[in-house]
């Protein structure tokens, strides 16, 4: 890794914007590869990248940095990335990185950001927690199932359906949703949980969910799915 060219790339990052020559940033990509087996160099690179997120560089430059941190990011990058979660233009790129950084701090930061966010920014973070299948987020997500914003409630249901743990299933079962769209999302998420539970050998828990949705009050497609699930539960005992 040539430090001079890397410095030049960081300099280029300061003025980089839409339509600029991307080759000036190529050393950053090369540095990501070159530091793969050098923890100290990787750490230094991550620190420099994360620091740029707190400067006044352009949105496109921060976009580039988020993509790089998605690859090499650790807990050290989380504060800088989390600071973008309230930024309508950059929140999605921050979540792009935070969804993939293995450190639990990434999920914790998104959970912590939830109360401060609203609308689509909140929906996005909820979705990212679901993508991470973050079991720690189940209580927070459960609380959002009856959020007055249907988009938020739906996103919470979908996220719980992605997490697919018994706790997630219980949270979905415990919700008393009246909004039709949210009810559809919780139903879908519950069936997803049941499928996962059954695959994990928790037949009784899965069966309880399927039975709940095989009732007369359910739409036909839901009954069909639940009936198929009941049959799968019975079949799995063979």
């Amino acid at each position: 890794m040539n430090l001079d060219t890397l410095d030049q790339a960081f300099e280029a990052l300061k003025t980089y914007d839409w339509g600029a020559d991307g080759s000036a940033l190529q050393p950053l990509d090369e540095a990501v590869v070159a530091t793969r087996a050098d923890a100290a160099a990787r750490q230094a690179l991550e620190k420099r990248l994360a620091e740029t997120l707190t400067t006044g560089i352009s949105r496109d430059a921060k976009d580039v940095v988020c993509r790089l941190l998605m690859v090499i990011g650790t807990a050290a990058s989380v504060p800088a990335l989390a600071s973008l979660l309230a930024d309508a233009e950059l929140a999605h790129m921050a979540r792009y990185a935070l969804e993939r950084i293995p450190a639990p701090e990434a999920a914790a930061a998104m959970r912590a950001a939830l109360p401060q966010l609203s609308g689509l920014l909140r929906v996005g973070v909820i979705g990212s927690l679901g993508v991470r299948r973050d079991v720690e987020s189940v209580p927070a997500l459960a609380a959002l199932l009856d959020d007055p914003d249907p988009a938020v409630a739906c996103a919470a249901a979908v996220a719980l359906g992605a997490i697919r743990t018994p706790d997630a299933a219980a949270a979905l079962a415990g919700s008393s949703v009246s909004h039709a769209e949210v009810r559809r999302a919780t139903t879908d998420a519950s069936l997803a949980c049941a499928e996962s539970l059954l695959a994990g050998g928790q037949r009784a828990e899965a069966l309880a969910i399927y039975r709940r949705f095989a009732g007369e009050d359910q739409p036909k497609h839901v009954k069909l799915a639940a009936t198929r699930g009941i049959l799968a539960c019975a079949g799995q005992s063979q």
Binding site: E216, R228, L231, G235
Partner: protein, 463 residues
Amino acid sequence: MVIRVSLSCMLCLISAGADLSRPHVDDAADSELVQMVVTLLHDTDKDIRALGLEQVRTATKGPSATQQFAAELPKLPGEAQVALLSALADRGDAAARPAIIDLLATRPDEPVTRAALAALGFLGEPADAAVLLHWLRDGAPAVQEAARASLVRLPGDAVSALLGAELDQAPAALQVILLEVLTARRALNTLPQLLPLAVAADASVRGAAMAALGQLAGPEHIPGLLQGVLAAEPGRERETAEKAVLSVCSRIADANRRAEPVLAAMQELSDAQRLNVLPALGRVGGPAALQAIEAAIGQAQHDVHDAGIRALCNWPDASIAPRLLELATQDPHPDHQIKALRALIRVAVVADERTDDERLGLLRAALEVCTRDSERNLVLQRAQAIRTPDTLRFLLPFLDQPACAQQACQSVVELAHHRALREAHKAEFDQALDKVIQISGDATLIDRAQRYKKNQTWVRERP
């Protein structure tokens, strides 16, 4: 509402039944699943029923469950019976067979009968051939078709033997079907029953028997096949019979010995019969056959000479092209000259080890001895098979000859159909296609020419 009832019942079963989460109650759970499936099978909603049918197809293995599913057959309405029969067939467990036989005994509606017969093809045993035969004999056309398909599928030599025995007493139409079934079954053990039918009084039976023998017979059966050739009416039936002989002989690995069984069998025939089977010998080809055929051609007696010419004209490859060219110009009989010429045009383009130039050269040689437009047009038509730019150049002058222009147009367009050839010589083809568009009287041909000029495709309609 039946859906509601079914699902409610199912939930009751689940509630009252075994704890499915406990592995030591597998038998009970198995029974629960079967009961659930049975409940679903009775639902009037086909989507709900489909869930049960899916289980019949794939789940709850074992004859006990199969029998329980099959036992529902008589209790279901027709549409559901058809679906369950199909699912049982896919399940592939012969334990369903007795219920299917019982159902057929009730003479159900045609769709149910059809489905039951189809299922028997998968689940039946040789003894069921008699049932299938009954429906093949007496059923409506769609039922006959189902019985026929299952008779093809039902395994066991005993099935073939039964069908072979039936051949003797069946009416002609049924004989034809049985022959087709036996052919599809590759029922070699029934060849003794098949051979006499090659000389049956009914032409359709003879044709079916010869088709079957062409597929199943060996060289040792050639005498019987030649009797079939002799019994066939001259024309299309005779040609088909001769091709059956060719099929059998083609399975002899050594190409030079393929005619031997025919020549040996001919020794047992009368002179007149030998003349009649000589064209079949010509189809087989080979040096020994050529010797016999040339001997016939060399005879002054017209019918013998004629049989020899016809035999040579059936030759399977271009090896006799020089001889055909000679006959086309020197045979004392004009009709034999024409026959030889047409045969030459046929073999000229047969695919073999010759180069395209050699094949086109032979066509050119044939063209030179043509005295009539009908043969010239035949040359132009056969030229389509040689897909080279030289063929296009060969065809071009004929676009200006009114008697041949339409066939030349056809052949140019057929050549242009092949994109790789057309695109590699686009300028030449465009020019030729322009000419076709200008002079052709065939709207389809003009459309094709226009499409090919624009590099568009054209899909040939299937007959």
